[in-house]
């Protein structure tokens, strides 16, 4: 017997058709008073949460039901779990897209239940929620807004790290109804709230509260369409207005003629509104057309099933009937729609997806199959995929599972999330079957299974670990870390350690190892991962926890760990660094810290003290580098003392303090304190060469030509005479520079010739050339010469030129 035609439950509203699909029957017991419960259903055919409405009286049945609880059911009425409730008055009950149940209590506490079985994470709304109390909440797919009794609004836009935020302050007054537009549908990409206050409506976001200046309030209902484009308002005089969500356009008005406002106003699709009273339902379609029903039909479905439809798809479906009857009309039909056959097949495939009834699904697919058998070139991918999807949908829609998800919803939810939901319901077998069928990884399912096993099993640790490892053998992506975490949470730390050793990702093991106080292993694993961030974290944790000595011992044979401790200590904890170097017996490094500190001192005396301390640290050391360091530190202190005296005796302020030895000597000579300079040279054992350089540069800077000339009379200079020539020439005194040219006997004649030229002394250069009998150079010089020099050079040239 063929079930009723899908048309049977259609209803026409305006130009469109609407249908009501009955999925499960007799879900709850007959005496179950649904009207006495607050109900919230998770999106995509997910679970339903029920909580007895405290404001309504209910029949006392037994102690169990009298106890306050939140019951989570599947859509088919199967109790999934029961959460005992003793946390006070519930002001918000809602679901996220990930099927997490959110419960908001009057005091502003939010409990986020994940996994459907009572595990939860709480957070507080803050922002005055505790004082004023939460009055109501509105949810969207990934967040919610709470309305406080003082009309303040608090939004939470995501749950992973909730940041409750106060929205703009809204005016005082009686809130008669409210609603929100989810962030995905607003221009600003943040949530907007529509608050009906007194006679008007305010649109409120994070920064503004905008009055829409309406007069027909108080509005008993404000309802936003699923895409956030339209808003339905129920006016004080019983009319329904449909306006754009920015309140710029009014699209339709419908007079309900009812004296009492409806219990609820909901949108059905994006183009019709349902008003529900206790005993009556009105449906307002586009432009005010009305009917009483639900569920918009899809275009494809309409195309196939609409009465008298002559669309190719409809004809194709008819052909299947003809085929069953073995009628030749089947072929006639096909010929008739030949032109559009490919399209008809597509439509039949799609329509099958939108049908809930397997009978019609099969019919439509059969029609598609028949159609495509006639087509020469047709990709069957869509067809095959659709059969796959329908099999999955059929499996989860079964009342045992109770997830009446539509095709569109399934597409948006994704198979992975569907599997996740099955896992949360502990439907492991079906989850694995579906995963394998759709070729998606089943590892998460195994992990969930194993974690659950750990929670409920009473077997001993070894046996349980063996069982789990055996079962999960050959599955490389398994996160043993998560399983181990569950074991640890159950207080089975031995089992946790065992399980953790099977985790392939070193980094993943670290946090759990730390909480299990397996410090050494945690540090090793962190180092193994190569992630310095992880290492830092372990180190910070351990430093806080362990006595310093044990902490240092732990890191002593781990160079990277020690290096990171040193690096972070250098920026904030110098004392720690000193202790570390002391414990590690690194006096040189310890001494260097004191040297750094000496540099930071302001007073000379304290600088010197620190330097002595630094030197003292090295007093037991025999290492040549340490000895050198020790000597240098003493020299540094000594130099500071000398400079302090200089500053006092010959300078106005701190001129010398802190300079290098060379610079001190240089400045002394430049200021004419040659004797003092010499004394420092002796005391600090500055080499003759260095001293001469300092003297030369200082005298040149001082332009003390006399002293320089005097110096030139000495027989030998440890740095030679060329530097004298260069520096003095650089200072512009060619005459004095030239004095040093003949003294540069170590240089080749050519260099000296060049030096003479630079002083502008062509004749001298010529003489040099003559001495080495360099005729070429002489000729070049002649070109450069002028005045008397010309004849001089000429004379030299003739002198050299061989007589003919």
């Amino acid at each position: 017997m063929a079930p009723s035609n899908p048309l049977a439950d259609w209803e026409k509203v305006g130009d469109g058709f609407y249908r009501n699909t009955r999925i499960y029957e007799a879900v709850f017991a007959d005496d179950f008073e649904l009207e006495n419960f607050i109900v919230a259903g998770a999106p995509y055919g997910g679970a339903i949460a029920l909580y007895r409405d405290e404001s309504k009286l209910s029949r006392y049945r037994d102690a169990q039901t009298a106890k306050s609880s939140i019951d989570i059911y599947s859509y088919s009425g199967k109790l999934i779990s029961r959460i005992n409730w003793e946390h006070g008055s519930i002001k918000g009950l809602g679901w996220s897209d990930d099927e997490e149940l959110l419960i908001v209590t009057e005091d502003g506490t939010v409990r986020r239940y994940f996994g459907l079985h009572g595990d939860f994470a709480p957070f507080s709304l803050g922002n005055g929620a505790e004082e004023y109390g939460v009055r109501a909440c509105r949810f969207w797919s990934s967040g919610f807004v709470a309305l406080l009794s003082n009309n303040q609004l608090i939004s939470v836009s995501h749950y992973s790290e909730p940041r409750p935020k106060l929205l703009a302050t809204c005016p005082e007054g009686e809130v008669s109804s409210w609603s929100l537009i989810p962030p995905t549908y607003t221009l600003s990409r943040s949530v907007e709230v529509l608050l009906a206050v007194d006679k008007t409506i305010y649109t409120i976001d994070a920064t503004d509260a905008e009055d829409r200046v309406l007069q027909n309030g108080p509005f008993k209902h404000v309802s936003v369409s699923p895409t956030g484009r339209f808003v339905a308002l129920f006016t004080n005089d019983g009319k329904v207005w449909v306006v754009s969500s920015d309140f710029q356009n009014k699209f339709s008005e419908y007079d309900s003629k009812a004296k009492t406002p409806p219990m609820t106003i909901e949108w059905c699709g994006d183009d019709s509104v349902i008003l529900a009273w206790e005993d009556e339902i009105h449906m307002v379609g586009p432009n005010g057309a009305a009917a009483k029903s639900a569920f918009v039909t899809d275009d494809v479905t309409e195309d196939v099933f609409r009465l008298g439809s002559t669309s190719p798809a409809s004809v194709l479906l008819d052909s299947v009937d003809q085929l069953d009857k073995k009628s030749p009309k089947a072929d006639e039909n096909i010929q008739r729609i030949r032109q559009n056959l490919s399209e008809a097949v597509d439509i039949c495939v799609k329509a099958a997806g939108h049908e809930f009834d397997p009978y019609w699904q099969k019919r439509l697919l059969k029609a598609a199959s028949f159609g495509k058998s006639v087509l020469e070139l047709y990709s069957s991918d869509d067809f095959v995929e659709m059969t796959e999807k329908l099999r999955v949908l059929k499996a989860v829609r079964d009342f045992q599972i109770g997830m009446p998800i539509s095709y569109e919803q399934y597409m948006r939810l994704t198979p992975e999330k569907l599997v996740e939901r099955l896992v949360n319901r502990h439907e492991y077998l079906l989850a694995i079957r579906i995963s394998e069928y759709l070729h998606i990884s089943a590892d998460k399912i195994y992990v969930h299974w194993a974690s659950q096993k750990v929670k409920v099993s009473t077997a001993d640790d070894d046996a349980l670990c063996r069982l789990i490892v055996q079962r999960l053998d050959g599955k490389p992506g398994i996160s043993f870390e998560l399983i181990a975490q569950s074991a640890y949470d159950e207080g089975r730390s031995h089992l946790a350690t065992q399980l953790l050793s099977h985790e392939p990702r070193a980094g993943k093991q670290v946090p759990l190892l730390l909480s299990m106080e397996e410090d050494g292993i945690a540090l090793d694993k962190a180092l193994e991962s190569g992630d310095t961030d992880l290492v830092y974290c372990v180190l910070l944790h351990l430093k806080k926890k362990l006595p310093l000595a044990s902490f240092f011992r732990l890191i002593s044979d781990k160079p990277t760990a020690s290096a990171l401790v040193e690096t972070s200590a250098r920026e904030g904890d110098i004392e720690l660094l000193k202790d570390l170097y002391y414990q590690d017996d690194k006096p040189l490094d310890g001494s260097n810290i004191l040297l750094s500190e000496a540099l930071k001192q302001t007073e000379v005396q304290s600088k010197i003290e620190k330097l002595h301390l630094a030197a003292h640290l090295l007093s037991d050391s025999k290492d040549p580098i340490a000895l050198f360091q020790q000597k240098s530190l003493s020299e540094a202190a000594h130099l500071l003392k000398i400079q302090e005296t200089l500053d006092k005796e010959i300078a106005d302020g701190p001129e010398f303090s802190g300079l290098g030895v060379n610079e001190t000597i240089y400045r002394l000579i430049r200021s004419g304190y040659g004797k003092r300079a010499q004394k420092i040279q002796n005391e600090c054992k500055v080499s003759e060469k260095t001293y001469w350089w300092a003297r030369l540069r200082a005298l040149v800077a001082k332009r003390d030509w006399g002293e320089l000339e005097e110096l030139g009379r000495v027989k030998k200079s440890p740095i030679g005479w060329e530097p004298f020539y260069n520096e003095i020439l650089g200072a512009g005194n060619t005459k004095l520079a030239s004095v040093f040219v003949p003294k540069c006997t170590n240089l080749p004649a050519a260099a000296r010739i060049e030096m003479w030229i630079k002083c502008g002394m062509i004749v001298k250069a010529g003489e040099e050339a003559l001495r080495v009998k360099d005729l070429n150079t002489l000729e070049l010089l002649r070109a450069k010469a002028s005045g008397v020099a010309v004849s001089e050079i000429d004379r030299m040239i003739t002198q050299l030129r061989p007589r003919k």
């Binding site: 940041r163 990409r189 310095t532 974290c537 290096a563 904030g572 040189l588 040549p624 240098s632 802190g658």
Partner: protein
Amino acid sequence: MAPRLGSEADHIRDKARRDLLTLLEGVRGKKNLVISKDLAGPVGLFVKFSVLQEYGVDRIFLLENANVDSTQRNVIFLVHAEKVHQIGTTAEQVKRLQENGTVEHDFYIFWVPRRTLLSNKILEDTGIIGDVNIAEFPLYFCPLEQDVLSLELEDSFGDLYLHKDPGCILLAAKALMQIQQRHGYFPRIVGKGDNARRLADLLLRMRKELEAEELSGLDDSVGGLLLPSLAIESLIIIDREVDFATVLLTQLTYEGLIDEFVGIKNNQADVDSTIVGAAVPPQASQGSSSTPQSASKPALKRKIQLDASDQIFSQLRDANFAIVGELLNKVARRLESDYESRHSAKTTLELREFVNKLPAYQLEHQSLKVHTNLAEDIMRQTRSDVFRKILEVQQNYAAGSDPTYQHDTIEELIARDVPLKNVLRLLCLESCMFGGLRPRELENFKRQILQAYGYQHLLTLRALEKMELLQPRSSTGPVVLPGGGASVGIKTNYNYLRKNLRLVVEEVSEKEPKDISYVYSGFAPLSVRLVQCVLQKPYILSLTKGGPTPPTVNTVSAASPGWLGFEDIVKSARGSTFSIVQKGDEKAARARQTLSGSGGVKTVYIFFLGGITFTEIAALRFIARQEAPQRKVVICTTGITSGGKMIEAAMEKGSFAKAA
């Protein structure tokens, strides 16, 4: 899917820009942006200030200046989350704004390149983690050019070799993983040096973890298993510590010399406006657009953009400085004749054509002027007595002559008070090339340095020693011999490699270079020679064994991959030597091979861990040009470095004179 060649840099640039702008878009309304110094430059590489403004950024502040004004409700921090002190500074500033501000703030922190546990911990300890919105800005590689991808980690050299902090290796691995995830696995990873090995190990580990995650479907974004890439030939990793000496030499290419004398950061150089003239308005707004307002800076410097967008610079950058003058003259003559062509323009059409080209001429003319002035200034500096002495010492070291002959010169430089950086560079060069200095001589130099530059440099010297840049020669003799002995590879044996890889090339033509040694006027950087051992085996063989140079450098590496043929020689360079083949599922790989064939130009990624110099980039580009028909070369690095920057990492900045 064969990704378009040469698009890696573009891809990374686009992605970085998109990521950042999406994050900014997520913050409603006007906002102030606080950015850390080390990020301001890199961000400027892919997004202009004007664009940030379009996305609501009102003002930009540097984190280090701690001067955020509190007028704006939205405050965004863009900061590295890997460093303790930067996280700490960020936390402090958030707290300060909370306490002082009259305006209630919404705080956003975009951690670069990832949100770390450390950052969570610090924010938690400061008590503000609940008050800030946290997001990640996954910026790893910043493309400097089409062929240069840099992590632009300024401190990476000091971190790696002084503080022994391997953080940048992880970031390098993550950056390379992104390339692998886009193109498939590097079919082969060849490398030299212990840190290089560490990087390769991390890559292997990450691949394993990624595969595990793909198998388990934890990562939804990646469909199917990755295979060895068909578009990539290999990844070559060179650890900087294999060849410190090259960096210590003075760079002699044009771009290298600019870096030596002026400094180039994120493709920009701050040049004295007395040299290149004051900034011209249009160019200034282009060049400095992305840099935050720093009005306090005296206007004596002008930012010069140094990248491929400047055509003249592109022609000059990799040339030896000796021929830059000539090249500039050529450009000048061409420009002039182009300009003169206006006289020959007869018809109105020709005239219009000329007018259309005019802006381009003017731009080129601008650039010509800048580079002529800059080159002249560099020329002046290279002529100085001190510079020539330094160069001479370097060239002698590079050639391997007895280092003690240079000591008098170095002592003279110290006595003449030339900047300490230059002195240390020479001493470190000697230490690196000859396995340390004799203890007595080293001590002597140290004493002279302390007396000349101050005793605070005890710290500098100690740091250099820790970095193994300046060390006493061990008593067991200079350096190990190749091919045997237990201590092989402890230090790079330049003496041996100089001969066996022909590092010194006497007959070098700067004008028409035949070998990479042109970049140092006769010295081939060891780091790049090592790359040639992988990519240009026949050439290196002909170079070292004598015999004819092969007319074209043909690809033999496919037949003899990795270090094959050079294993023994390469052993005398410091650290681990490795060549790893990354295999995929054989069947799948073969199936794909038959489907798409194996032909086509393949890319070689060359990663310089710890930094690369402009000179080495020039040398690698030289190789890339020779290999052009068969291969493409992409250079990757943790950052651009130079001898000066290397020494800078060790240098103690404090002194006894200035009280802190």
